[in-house]
Symmetry: C2
Amino acid sequence: MSQPIDIAVIGATGTVGETLVQILEEQDFPVGTLHLLASNESAGSGVMFRSKSLRVREVDSFDFTKVKLVFFAAGPAVTRSFAPRAQAAGCAVIDLSGGLSAEAAPALVPEANAARLENLAQPVQVSSPSAAAVALSVALAPLKNLLDIERINVTACLAVSAQGREAVSELARQTAELLNARPLEPRFFDRQMAFNLLAQVGANDTDGHGALERRLVGELREVLGLPALKISVSCIQVPVFFGDSYSVSVQSRKAVDLAAVNAALEAADSIELVEEGDYPTPVGDAVGQDVVYVGRVRGGIDEVEQLNLWLTTDNVRKGAALNAVQLAQLLIKHVV
Amino acid sequence: MSQPIDIAVIGATGTVGETLVQILEEQDFPVGTLHLLASNESAGSGVMFRSKSLRVREVDSFDFTKVKLVFFAAGPAVTRSFAPRAQAAGCAVIDLSGGLSAEAAPALVPEANAARLENLAQPVQVSSPSAAAVALSVALAPLKNLLDIERINVTACLAVSAQGREAVSELARQTAELLNARPLEPRFFDRQMAFNLLAQVGANDTDGHGALERRLVGELREVLGLPALKISVSCIQVPVFFGDSYSVSVQSRKAVDLAAVNAALEAADSIELVEEGDYPTPVGDAVGQDVVYVGRVRGGIDEVEQLNLWLTTDNVRKGAALNAVQLAQLLIKHVV
Ligand SMILES: NC(=O)c1ccc[n+]([C@@H]2O[C@H](COP(=O)([O-])OP(=O)(O)OC[C@H]3O[C@@H](n4cnc5c(N)ncnc54)[C@H](OP(=O)(O)O)[C@@H]3O)[C@@H](O)[C@H]2O)c1
Ligand SMILES: NC(=O)c1ccc[n+]([C@@H]2O[C@H](COP(=O)([O-])OP(=O)(O)OC[C@H]3O[C@@H](n4cnc5c(N)ncnc54)[C@H](OP(=O)(O)O)[C@@H]3O)[C@@H](O)[C@H]2O)c1
């Protein structure tokens, strides 16, 4: 077993941060001292770790020389403010916020591009990409050499928890108001989210693409090692609490061998292939699990070069916290 | 104004049938006597039409020689049982159930292929296609000549009302159970629908495609007059009561002129183009309206031959009942 190392989690009171702390405990990760950091709003509160309540502290006054590894699980602005200090203190950084450039912190999904870790400058900075990039990379990495992928079309159906804990409370609140026939006043979302679909996540750029859509395209090309991959992606927000789902259509340049695709998915450790005729759902399958569920594996209608898939995965766990801890496991073996 | 004609609506107590009767009234359709038909379950109940309560009767004992036009808005099995009797009695038939073959009853969406009505054998049988085919045809017909469409990718996010009134009650019931922390026993759907996504609508064939997915491909090719169009489609069931939404990505063989696309959408009567930066939702825009809402009109990321769109429309109204009444308006002008 590795030497215990001292770790800081920034955003420890958030949806992702709390799960990350849980997973460090579940996996018996070699943690020495764990420092839980957040804003002044929740400084002083406690978070359970190994049967003890650890006091949350404010990140602003944290001395990064106390730790060797820092997880950034607050927003991108927090990462941009504090990652330079962490790096100056010699810490390895795992960013979950998308706050660092691809050059400063390459996107990593162990199932797809673990090798990328090998020649990074010290102290290492890596990024755990968007939950969508994690799910799609895990599902497509085993198929990459089997297909000659020309294009991927994705409709990403994001759970409200993708926007953090306030979004989760807001869906519950809106739903209760509507069921009790009370007038709805949207707060976190700018309109009704309950029993509705929102076709946009955050603001769009002048070309009409959302930041998350652009980010996904960049991350997926990088993680899959396919820089010229054509990707069309639409992110929509759905009234689901936890569990992102992806409707995926892949165009290959050659006929798709469905039996080989099924065998490759079946063989992948981080994939649970749901049997033909059934399909996985976010609530019924993905939530709380460590794998990407894949179902509805089928070809095209009248087209042998097409592959269609349905994916669903726990966005907070597999899509973020678990991927980051998997990265940490690799880091402590190779570099920290 | 046309001569009043006697009409039968089969499935008049259903989600689509009730709306159809409402629209006949709203449009002041030249109805002589209106016969409302259903199964023995609701025979005897009343449905309001022009301030009178009309008695619903059983379809089994109906004498089709009493009417000139029949709307079939019960299931496909009911259409297959009774359309031959209607036709033998000389009635024009408008089927909303998908129960007749494309040869027996061509799919029609007035905004896209009204001309198809002109050379049909008497008595005329036509089909109002699936709500998905209506929405996509209305949105794509004005773009057909502007783009050189090679392929369409669609993720169809269907409201529960697409499955009729029982599905609507079931989503409400499940949501209330969950909010009250009572154990969930799914009834209409085979699993939790509230706060969840179901990746499949009905059973799949041995190739993994759903009947609705296959039907949509056939109908869209027919209605758009593009028999070789490549289409990839996934239908998913979302926890929304009314209003279907479509995430659409179009591949053209030439660069897409976005200004021309916007102008063509803007000019189309049955389309409401939502201004840039905003987007339409099923609950906030589509429900109760007679148009297809279009938003998020944008090109590809790094690809000039791509066009992405988000559509949302009232599945029961524009997707079914209204399209059928629009067909009836054309029929009475040309053929009945
Ligand atoms: N949710 C997901 O599915 C998901 C997936 C992948 C990546 N991510 C990314 O992970 C990050 C966290 O997301 P989340 O869903 O966990 O959000 P969240 O539930 O809203 O939690 C936010 C966390 O950040 C902390 N925080 C906020 N402002 C801060 C500040 N100025 N200084 C220090 N800490 C601050 C909060 O602490 P307080 O308690 O003090 O407010 C809280 O711990 C985001 O960048 C998000 O994009 C999320
Ligand atoms: N809902 C949509 O968005 C939509 C869109 C396009 C097409 N459609 C199609 O339209 C049809 C009706 O759908 P819906 O949503 O209105 O369903 P629904 O709400 O379940 O209503 C079904 C209707 O059919 C009647 N019916 C059932 N069995 C019958 C039988 N054996 N004989 C005579 N009538 C019978 C019912 O009458 P009772 O009251 O007697 O049971 C009721 O009026 C279906 O084929 C559906 O696929 C629906």
